[in-house]
């Protein structure tokens, strides 16, 4: 039996029954009448039966590190502890125990972040846009320079890769603006 009944219509979330399929690759939701193409993968039909832990019956049986009453059936690939099926959790292609998952999550947060602030783009924006109304650069130039310095060692976009060209450009524009204002104020002071 295929788990096709667990599929829901992508538009109205209505459960798609076998009667929704026109053929193997096309279907129509009988609830919202949305027609769709369907591309199945092996994971759709893979067996996902939960495994029940077996009680340790012999004294020689290896037992789970976390559940002394359960027979061990796997070894944590992180710390090497013996684990019962309850404690064996597939995580990132490995079988880990709960404590290793907790540790892995911390490192995952660093290697697989959910978002990134693009300081290079912000610095360039703050440096360039106020030039349209140039008096604002008195305020924004130091901010742009600060952002360029602050963002120098910050993580960059995951997909664009590390390029400090924008930060350098923002820093140079900000420095030029600051130099312009400095010249202006010095000239003003000398005039007096």
């Amino acid at each position: 039996m295929t788990p096709a009944a667990a599929l829901t219509c992508p538009r109205c979330r209505h459960l798609l029954g076998p009667e929704s399929w026109v053929d193997a690759a096309d279907g129509v939701c009988l609830h919202c009448q949305a027609e769709f193409e369907f591309i199945p993968f092996p994971a759709l039909t893979a067996e996902r039966a939960a495994r029940a832990p077996q009680a340790a019956v012999l004294e020689a049986d290896s037992v789970c590190f976390f559940h002394a009453e359960n027979r061990a059936e796997a070894i944590c690939e992180g710390c090497g502890r013996l684990l019962c099926p309850v404690c064996t959790v597939p995580f990132g292609g490995r079988k880990l125990c709960p404590s290793c998952i907790a540790a892995a999550k911390d490192s995952t947060a660093q290697t697989a972040p959910r978002n990134r602030v693009l300081y290079d783009s912000i610095a360039l924006l703050v440096a360039l846009v106020p030039l349209v109304v140039w008096p604002f650069t008195l305020l924004t130039a130091p901010i742009a320079l600060g952002l360029a310095i602050y963002g120098w060692n910050k993580p960059c976009s995951l997909v664009r890769g590390r390029s400090r060209g924008r930060l350098v450009a923002a820093g140079l524009v900000a420095l030029a603006e600051i130099a312009g204002w400095a010249t202006f104020f010095v000239a003003l002071w000398l005039k007096k």
Binding site: T2, W21, E37, A43, L44, G93, T111, R162
Partner: protein, 179 residues
């Protein structure tokens, strides 16, 4: 020491939304949806091993863009209709530009093919792939992803058709000769 960054390959161009744009990338073991405002990026990862199916549904996108470009081209025709003289006027020049722009837009919109929405089904969600907005483009991307997903799920059983169409009723027997 910072771990070496994952290398991503682009699957789609940026698709503009209100205030942001989205794109689709593929890494070593996952597909990543990137939503960016230009100053902040958000990442949604779908592991290749967890994608159970992909749905593609047709949308009215091509029709609406066709209407938009039709209006632009129609606006370009107006100066020719209202002007009585045969000379070149600024209105006619502007109309010609609009007409050309609208015509190109209509052609481009037609070549892009019908609009679509794509959803990746995992064990816990139907995740929309927002940068897949045209059927042609979605099929092209799926052609690239299909072998990668199958390879990631190679340890699982081959896909079973979700719901085979009911078998056609058997044909009635031919009438007996001479009856």
């Amino acid at each position: 020491m910072e771990p070496s960054p994952e290398k991503y390959r682009r699957l789609t161009k940026n698709n503009s939304e209100v205030g942001s744009y989205t794109s689709l990338w593929v890494g070593s073991d996952h597909v990543m949806i990137v939503r960016s405002s230009g100053y902040h990026e958000e990442y949604v990862r779908l592991h290749l091993g967890e994608i159970r199916a992909v749905f593609l549904t047709v949308t009215e996108r091509r029709r609406w863009w066709g209407l938009f470009w039709g209006i632009v081209a129609g606006g370009g025709v107006l100066p020719f209709l209202v002007s009585s003289g045969g000379g070149v006027t600024p209105g006619k020049v502007f109309g010609s530009i609009l007409l050309g722009l609208g015509g190109l837009g209509l052609l481009w919109n037609h070549l892009l093919g019908p609009g679509c929405r794509a959803f990746a089904v995992t064990g816990v969600q139907n995740a929309e792939l927002p940068s897949l907005v045209r059927m042609k483009q979605a099929r092209k991307v799926m052609a690239r992803l299909h072998p990668l997903i199958n390879a990631a799920q190679s340890h699982l059983a081959p896909p079973v058709q979700p719901a085979p169409s009911p078998e056609p009723p058997p044909a009635p027997p031919p009438p007996a000769a001479g009856v």
